[in-house]
Symmetry: C2
Subunit: 109 residues, 2 copies
């Protein structure tokens, strides 16, 4: 069942999904990949090559902030958390998504 979702949909959902996940609390790249896979029931299976640039971009836009930390296991991880701007951006993204979703559902009947 893991039929991949179209590239455009991945592009459209990556920003709101990452922001929404970080709104639930700090996380890091590798964990976000797993969270997305679990939350979607395997329907969304992002690649690392797609996610890391997204995180860097969101950081450059000041929507998220990063800090390096080392886990008990001794692994280096880059933890991200939502900024104030990020919270506002999340609401905006959500509003946009719902507008498009409502339109699609209106046509689907």
């Amino acid at each position: 069942m893991p039929e991949p979702v179209s590239k455009e949909l991945v592009a459209a959902s990556s920003k709101p999904l990452v922001l929404a996940i970080l709104a639930r609390g700090e996380s890091y790249g590798y964990a976000i990949l797993q969270e997305v896979r679990e939350l979607s029931g395997g329907r969304l299976d992002w690649t690392e090559g797609m996610l890391y640039p997204v995180l860097h971009r969101l950081e450059a836009q000041k929507l998220i902030q990063a800090r390096w930390a080392t886990s008990e296991g001794g692994r280096r991880r880059k933890y991200y958390r939502l900024s104030h701007q990020g919270s506002r951006a999340l609401e905006s993204e959500r509003s946009d998504w719902e507008a498009v979703d409502a339109t699609l559902k209106a046509v689907w009947g």
Copy 2:
């Protein structure tokens, strides 16, 4: 209120929306632009420079078929209709959209 929706969302929704509109019956470019604007309550305001390439692409993918006709007013219009493949593609797009929508709503709580 016509705050524009992000470029990525436009990209993600253009294919399913056009297919869904044509599933309701034949239409043409200029009319589709208006239908999208009305169906979205003005939230979606596509440009011609975005829609026509979409139509050409969908036609190249054999998801829609075109025919030229002249209206009573004497205007040349290119009418598009959904192909069998287009119907299938629409269902696939819809399934994808709903998978992402469900994921987003799961995170939004």
